[in-house]
């Protein structure tokens, strides 16, 4: 009996303590900006989801610890586990969208499927979506998609840059005629996204495109790679995520497909993708969404202000990994957008609608990027109503067995190919959904 009593007391104590903490939080909330985080720290995509979420959280903590928030407005953030599942992602979105004094600033779902589902809701809820390097490719057109921001590049850019790179390796894009390029992709909106661009490029350049789907979660790829062995494509583009990437590299070894002819998208080019394959991953290439692995001045600050105070979200050793950096850059872009929006709306917690203005008017030059401690990792970017990407450059990096090394210069996606496709797809969306386009020339 005494034991039971103890458990009861503990429970009550915990509940009371919880209530006190909550009351405390409510007092402090008035001058805080709420940033929701949709993460996946469990399931088959966790190896890639965890470093991204850590980078994101650490940067937000850094802003609070080092600068005391954005112009004095502290950032409070909360994670919600989606497991990369669309229905759970929508539930998390509903859970977090109205927290904080002004509601959620912006969502970064880190899943193209969830992005598709949330795109519909953004119009009514007036909360922007920052889909950095993923999401709907046609959402570059801000006149139709005012709430979507595929900053730094879309999958159409990624596919185009890969085509340009392999064309360059062959001595010119016209030399790709008659070549075979296979796309091994995650069978979801994410993996299917580059197909229209690759088909367009195949038509123009005369190479043969082979599309090989891999079913979620991608641990079973024997059939796909037997097809690769049979068809012997000149290049394999890998559009995978989570455990699918490392499995693909192992399967490539099994069918003896040369790793240096494999090119991953920027979501298939991080440490968790190559490390499980061991030495066999050597020579594997992938796109780098602007940055690769590595540390800059901002990482030194993170180690000092965040990990030094024991507030880090992950392990100290993982700071500076590819996906960690990507999460960090994603958080930085949001913080800079909030800062931009504060310039117009005042130094107070902002609504999603105000943050949206900030993202659309975000402009980072080389000087500002250096100030942020990210010199060399980012190209200057400038977002506008008609261009919701801001920048469309990437480099190729290669795994040398121990680290990622850049093997190409900056390549810019070819707007003459992509822009007409974006406009066509956006116009179709606007027509299907009966939307009135914003006029980008007026300036919103």
């Amino acid at each position: 009996m005494p034991k039971l009593f103890n458990a009861g007391t503990l429970f009550v104590a915990a509940a009371v303590a919880g209530a006190l903490i909550n009351a405390d939080a409510a007092l402090a909330q008035a001058n805080e900006q709420f940033v929701p985080m949709l993460v996946y720290r469990s399931g088959p995509y966790a190896p890639n989801g965890i470093p991204f979420a850590n980078g994101y959280a650490d940067y937000l903590t850094l802003v609070n610890e080092r600068d005391g928030g954005v112009n004095g407005v502290k950032i409070m953030f909360e994670e919600c586990e989606t497991g990369y599942a669309t229905d759970r992602g929508v539930e998390c979105y509903e859970r977090l969208k109205s927290k904080g004094p002004t509601g959620a600033a912006a969502f970064s779902p880190l899943s193209t499927g969830i992005t598709y589902a949330l795109t519909e809701k953004a119009y009514t809820d007036k909360i922007p979506l920052i889909t950095m390097g993923y999401g709907r490719s046609e959402s570059v057109d801000g006149s139709v998609f005012p709430w979507n921001f595929p900053l730094l590049g879309t999958y159409w850019d990624a596919a185009d840059i890969l085509i340009q790179h392999v064309g360059h390796l062959n001595g010119g894009l016209d030399k790709l005629k008659g070549k075979k390029i296979a796309l091994v992709y995650h069978d979801s909106p994410y993996g299917k996204e580059p197909i229209p661009l690759l088909q367009e490029r195949a038509k123009r350049l005369g190479f043969e495109l082979i599309t090989i789907p891999v079913t979620h979660p991608g641990v079973e790829q024997k059939a796909a790679w037997l097809q690769v062995r049979q068809l012997r494509p000149d290049y394999v583009f890998l559009w995978g995520w989570g455990v699918m990437n490392s499995t693909a590299i192992k399967e490539a070894v099994a069918v003896n497909y040369p790793r240096d002819h494999m090119y991953g998208v920027w979501w298939a080019g991080a440490e968790p993708d190559v490390l499980p394959a061991g030495a066999d991953a050597k020579g594997y290439n992938a796109l780098a969404l602007q940055h690769s692995a590595g540390q800059g001045p901002v990482h030194a600050d993170i180690l000092k202000y965040v990990y030094g105070k024991g507030k880090g979200a992950g392990q100290k050793e993982d700071v500076g990994h590819v996906l960690y950096n990507r999460g960090l850059v994603n958080a930085m872009l949001l913080i800079e957008s909030i800062r931009t929006a504060q310039g117009k709306f005042g130094k107070k917690p902002l609504t999603g609608e105000q943050v949206r203005w900030g993202i659309e008017n975000l402009s980072l030059d080389q000087k500002r990027i250096s100030q942020l401690g990210l010199a060399g990792m980012l190209q200057p970017l400038k977002v506008s109503c008609s261009d919701h990407e801001g920048a469309r450059h990437a480099r190729i990096h290669q795994w040398d067995g121990t680290k990622w090394v850049f093997v190409s210069d900056w390549i810019e996606a070819d707007e003459t190919v992509i822009r007409p496709m974006v406009e066509e797809a956006a116009a179709k969306y606007a027509k299907d959904k009966n939307l009135t386009r914003r006029d980008c020339k007026v300036g919103a």
Partner: protein, 354 residues
Amino acid sequence: MLYREAGQFKTTYGADQAVFPIRQDQLFIALWLAVGFVLVPLVSSEYLLRAILIPFLILALAALGLNLLVGYCGQLSLGTGGFMAVGAYAAYNLCVRIPALNPLVAFLLAGGVSTLVGIAFGIPSLRIKGYYLAVATLAAQFFLDWVFSRVAWFSNNTPSGSITAPPVTLFELTFDTPVKKYSLCLSILVLFAAVAKNLVRGRIGRAWMATRDMDVAAEIIGIRPMYAKLSAFAVSSFFIGVAGGLWAFVHLGSWEPLAFDVNRSFSILFMVIIGGLGSILGSFLGAAFITVLPLVLNQLPQWLGISISTAMISHLEAMIFGCLIVFFLIVEPLGLARLWRIGKEKLRLWPFPY
């Protein structure tokens, strides 16, 4: 005492054969309907409606459909997700290809398409039973999954394979706000539940139950097994198809084939098993258990003010949820509906049990 039918005399055959012959039950249902239609829309937050109640209602409809097949007719099916997908894609294609068609009508037609597909995949049930049938319906699940992700026509040649549903309207009314969506789902669910309740206590339901309990004996007393089994597949698929249409159009709004994968089939089967096989009420209880509990477990630490890492919470959620399923199946293998029945019997005797 509280639940005693003494003094309620039935003077007509009609009264004797009513769906709910006991006054307490009638009051109870009326109360629940009042809560569902009036109180909940008034007091619920948007989160409660959009993230918990709407999915609960739609999955309850699917569980109800599956319960007719598994619980009443005894035909084990693992193809629920596939049949939901048939409903969703049929409704989408009807709406896209016949723009004049009202989505609500499209749901019913999609239920019809799902019925046809259900009958087709129900044919093996005439020859095989039990686990073997489960495997055959699992094949249906994988086949339908494959069709919808590979044949671009079904998703109107959308390159990404993710499709967006047109808005659901009725005359001038658009079901866009959470309250309207909730009311729509609740109305459809109540309608279908009434149909199901009446089906299972009539000739068809008795034929199903006879087939479930012993098919040879049922055949001997004059029930055609082919008719009984295929009608169960047909009605069940109709319910599930409509639920699939609602899930896609009303809840998700935009979806990909993964929304109807094999895990959906399993979770709906678990709802039926945990709620209670062969019980209409059980379908609701099971749906509530499976949809609401994980969300509660996921948010419980935060409500209590305990800070645990996100990964730990989601691992704990899976573990506790699994343990609770095992616990309930050990304590009450006949499901939550059986607990309710025991409760009712206790209430009859209360406060003077013997």
